[in-house]
Structures are given as structure tokens and as C-alpha cells.
Amino acid sequence: MAKTSQDELLSAYIDGELSDAQRAEVEERLAKDADARQLVSELRALKESVRSLPAYRLEEDLARRVLQRAERAILTGGVDDEATESEGPPSSSEPPKPWTRPLLRERWRRVYLWPVLAVAATLLIMFMIPNRTARIAQVDQKRMADEAAQKSKSSSTSPAGKVAELSPSAEPVADVEPERFESLRAVPENAKAAPGIPHGLAKQPSVASKSDGTVLGHRFRRKMAGRVESPTEGEEGRLLEEEKAKENFFADDSADQVASQLLIVRVDIAESTIPPDAIAALFSQQGIAFEDVPPQETEARAENADNESDENLERERAAEEASQLGRSADEVELVYVEATAGQLKKTLKALSTDTDRFTSIAIEPAPEVAAQRELQKWYMQRGGEASHVKDRPRGATDGAVADAPATAKSSRAKGAEAEADRKGVLGEKDQLGRERLGRIVASQAQQRPTSNAGFGGVGAGAGVGGGVGGPPGRAQRLSLPPEIKESLATAKNRSDVVQRLQNNAGRNEGAGNEKNSDVEGLSSLKADKVGGKRDEKSGPDRPHARPLVQTLFVFRRPAPAADLSHETDRDETPAKSDQ
């Protein structure tokens, strides 16, 4: 045997990798050969030298990032950075492999697409102007109003009386920033204080009793009444195709279960960059029909309000509150949307890529709805990309991303708590607003025009279940009090909100109230997901119920330095770094 081969055996000998026969042979040589013994000693010393090198470890938890990237890779059809096949020779020139294997598709479907697309969604989009002083005062007065309203409920069923009770709650938020969000506000410029409004409401043009038959109708302007052709190019078209292909997965009880939750998305908007119809355009460009409630229809509804039952009084009161919201529309704007997951994704994409207008985005899923968490994850993966866009602040988006993938629930809770803590008094608003949200949203929805399409008057194809001409998707501009919007932003118990919303919808259905067919649309979300009951109601020309996703977006706008102190700015603008 050549000396090299013999020495190689010595190397293997110190590793204990020889057979018994080879080891015996080596030991025999070592007994006779001093050079061999010297070599073995040196190899052992060498071995010890290499093994004594300091160990390196990663100073980070790689799991979160890995999972984000992996899920993104699955979403985008391949491993993003590397084309190397794990079980074949590496090749850096290969393009990313398309996601074609059935097993992978099945895993993706199981983990992401199925639950995401199974959820029906409501989008509430809010634009806020932070103003700590005004909001603190508003919270205090809202709380007073709430207490007064509770008393009123037990002593009087008159809507006018309730308005009188509620009136002290009105805070002239519009006075603080009268011109802000003029282009986005839901309240028309000609809204004035109604006669007979008690002291304290004098400066609140949008607060009025329903009996005047005009106020509710003035809360909304129609921004857009028609559907816009949905984008057809590239990925958007692919998303729609994916949705279509996965529809058969929706007929499942779990889909019904998750459908009763709202997802909240918060977006910071850049100052003075949002044209009047930007929000409407945002949705319409994704194939989501956008509308405001025409004044005349809400007037008619208001005229009939006095005849409503006690059960509806609370909703009436919510309508009044909503009308109060109108005065604060300078600060807040809300858009209620029901759309498919694909449309939501496209909306989020549009938001995340429009860094000039939207500076940060955060998604807050309902705690018990995995599908929403997955949608959050999906967005966060895109948000991570967006955060690299030049000049885009690493704000709420990244903050929301921070802990979400593996522990979305805890991340959401932590984020909400952190925000509540940061805002101090807003934590009090949180509970107040949460208790009213369902009533208010339902009341607002009630103002939608009667239509078989759910969000009526938008177009035949715009309702729940989708139309023949395109994907389902509908958006309606709503208005909520700033404190309630704040509470949405820090939601901790959204299930109560959703329950109220659906209870309201259920009452409307039970009463057979044709005027509230739009509210019926809220509850019919569930039917869509469990069997397409909506189809039966919608007629034969609506061949297939398209599942809709419930989500809540919160959009905020930074306060101008001239009007707000630095402290206010810090407190009220969404956290860029501490979320």
C-alpha cells in the first residue's frame, strides 16, 4: 500500500472511521513506525486546533424572517432569491421555478388561500386628523352623551328626545380643523346646525334630529356610482384566476365561522396629497364599486324612522351618532367595503406602492381568524418590500410585521395595547367606540339605497355574491366618530362589534324590511360562504356567489405643525417605530 494511502488511514484512524481490520492494521503500524506516531500526534493537535475555533451564532431569530420569505416565495411561485434546486446541482442561472407541484399547491391552499378566500370582508377605511385636544374633549363629551343616552333609552323612545340627550356629546371637532380633509369629508359643506339643537351643538352643523328629514341624507356624497373595469394585466389577473379556481373551497363550516370577523387595516396618508376622489378611485381601480348614499334616500329613511320598533331605536340612535360623526368628517372618513380577497390584495398593493400618498400601512386581523392573519402576513410580505421604497417611512407596516407571522394574535394584541398606551386617553375611547360600532355601521349601511345588489344603486354586478360582469366588490363611504375610529385602530374586542353589526342585519332580515336589503347584505355574507344563499335571492342572472373578505382599514393623516404641538403630533400620528 502506498504511503499516502497508509497516511490516509491514519487520518481516518483519529476520526474513528476505520473498520476493525483497518484499525488493527494502523495500530500495528503505529507500534513500529515512529513517523506514523508523529503524524498522528500532529493530526490530533491539528484537529484540536480547528475544533477550538470560536463558534459563531446568529444574533437574531431567523425563524420569523424565514417564514415570511418562504410564504412569500410560495405566493410568488418560487423561491425568490435562489433558483438552486435543493436536490440537484446548483445553478444560479436558472430562473425561479414556477410553483407547479400539486403538493406545494395543496400546502399553500391548506395554509393560506383556502382560509383567506373563505372569509367575507368588510372594509372600513378611515382618515383621521390627529388633534389631541379636540379628541380628549370629544371623548369626555361622548362619554357623557353615552350615559345620557342610556338614561334616555329607558325613559323615552322618541328619536328626537334621544337626539336631545345625545346632543351634549357633540364636540365641535370641525371647528378645530374646519378645512382639513375637505376633499375627503363625508359631510357636505352646506351642513349647518339644525334649529332647535340644544346648546353645545350650536357649532356642530352636522348634528340634527332625524325628524328634519334631511340630515342623514346630507351625510354622504356620491363619489362614484359605477363599477370600474377591474385590472386585467399580469398579476392582478392571475389573482382573480386563483380566486376563481379556489371557490369550491368556500363551502365549509369553518368559512362561515371566520366570516363573522372584521379585519382592520390602518393606513397613514401623506398630507395634502389626496385628491377628493382618491379613495373612491382606489377601490374602483380594483374593481370595487364605490358609492356614497344619496341624500334623498336617507331622508326617506329618516322620515320613516319614527315608525320603527323599539328594537330599531338603538340603531336610530346610532344613526344620530353617525350624523354627529358627520360633523367630525373633517377628521374622519370611513369606507365600508365588501370585496374578495383578491380585490383586497390588489387594494393593499395599490396602497403599498403608492408611497407618495400612503406612508404606512398596518393590518390588524381579528384575533381568532387565522385567514385574516394569513392575509395580514400576505400583506406584510408586500409591506416589507414597500418599506424599501425610497423615502417610505418604516412605520406601522413594519411594526405590524414585526411579530406577526408566527404569533399574529399576540402581535396584534401587543400592537393594540402599545397604541392604547401611547395614546393615553384614547384607551378610554376605545371601549366607548367599540360598543357603538356595530350599531353605527349598521345604521350607516341602512342609509344605502335599496337594491338587490346589496350595496344598491352601484350596479347590478356589485353586490355580495358578485355580478355577471366582474368580480364582486363594493365600497361605501361611511362616517364614524373620531373616538370610535380610534377604537377601531386599537380594537381589542372586535367580535362584539361584529356581533352587533350582524345582529342588526339579522333583525332587518327577520322583519322583512325591504328598505334594509342593503343591511341584509351584511348578514348574507355568511350565506355566501356556506352555500350561496345569496344567489337565490339575487336571481338567476347572478350565477355564482363570490366570497367576500371582511377587513377594516384605518387611514390617518399627519397633523400640520402649525396647528398641532409636537406632543400632539407624537401622540396622535401613528407610530412609525414603536408599533
Binding site: 497516511d7 490516509e8 487520518s11 481516518a12 476520526d15 472511521e17 500526534s41 500532529e42 493530526l43 493537535a45 491539528l46 484537529k47 484540536e48 486546533s49 480547528v50 475544533r51 477550538s52 475555533l53 470560536p54 463558534a55 459563531y56 451564532r57 446568529l58 444574533e59 431569530d61 431567523l62 425563524a63 420569523r64 424572517r65 424565514v66 417564514l67 420569505r69 418562504a70 410564504e71 416565495a73 410560495i74 418560487g78 423561491v79 425568490d80 432569491d81 435562489e82 438552486t84 434546486e85 435543493s86 436536490e87 446541482p89 446548483p90 445553478s91 444560479s92 407541484r101 403538493l103 406545494l104 400546502r107 391548506r110 395554509v111 407571522p405 408566527a406 404569533t407
Partner: protein
Amino acid sequence: MNDDAPLIDQALKGDSAAFGRLVERYQDRLYNTMVHVAGSAEDARDVVQDAFVQAFVKLETFRGDAAFYTWLYRIAFNLAASQARRKRPSVSIDEARQRFGHEPMQKGGAPEGRMEQKERICQVRAAMDRLNEDHRTVLVLREIDGCDYETIASILELRIGTVRSRLFRARMQLREELLDVLQEDMK
């Protein structure tokens, strides 16, 4: 590792957190190996991350006839080889350590011997860096990661005889370069 099988099953059923636990289990071990293979902490981190991502995406192709970490290492080494071909500018380990704060875990030693130990470490590293990639890879898997020949052969898809010969050549080259140091140690 047998404990990996339940986590893999869970991950295949859609529990991504289970895969997260696998990442936690192996990230430091793989990283420590890849620092020596990739040549820089930065490259090693990228390789490790990419390897886990690929492993997750391709998890259904893992047949379970080898240990998960063997399969994972195979992915990582393929990625490292691919990365090396791209000849991306790399940062030395020491420089990366300063830049990224990746302080290696010290294995002990009295303070008075720190300087000497540090010098020794630098000499060994420099000698290893001069090994060709194939030899260095085998040596790292054997001495740094503690893999046996069969595992190394599985990871690198080599015959055991090739592993043994490459390891021997790597050691002989290191011995040549570190002879003075070794002889001093043996005194």
C-alpha cells in the same frame, strides 16, 4: 434527529410555527458551519436564511430517509456553492463581526492566554481559508460540525472514500501551514 419528524409533519400540515422551531433548532449550528464555508458572516447568514426558505418551500420533497439537518445542509451547501460562483464581494469574518456584532462564542480560556489564543485562531483561520473549497468544506463538516464520514458523504453527495481522502488532504495542507504551531503545542 428523531425529534424533527413531528415538527416536519406539522409543518407539512400547514403549521408554519413548527417549521419555525426547526429553524430555531438548527440556525446557529448551520450558521457556524457556513461562516467557515461561505467565508464571511454576511454570506453565511444569507446562505442560512436562503437554505431555510428553500427547505420550507420544498419540504414536501423531503423523504425522511435522511436526517432533516442533512437535507438542510445539502441545500445550504448547494446555495453556498452557487453564491461562491457569483463571486459577490465578501466581508472577512473579523470585519463582519465588527460590522454585525456577531461575536463568536468563546470556549473559555484564561484572560492571560487570550492574546495567544487569538493569534492561534487567526493562524488557523488563515490556513483554512487557503484550502480549496472542496477540502475546506469537508474539514468544516468534520471538525466544526462534527459530522461523521457517512453524513458528510450524504450532505455533499460524495463517496465515503472521497470524503476520507479530501479530509486527509485538507489536514495535510493545514499541517504544512501550521507545523510550527502544532509542534509547539505538542511540546
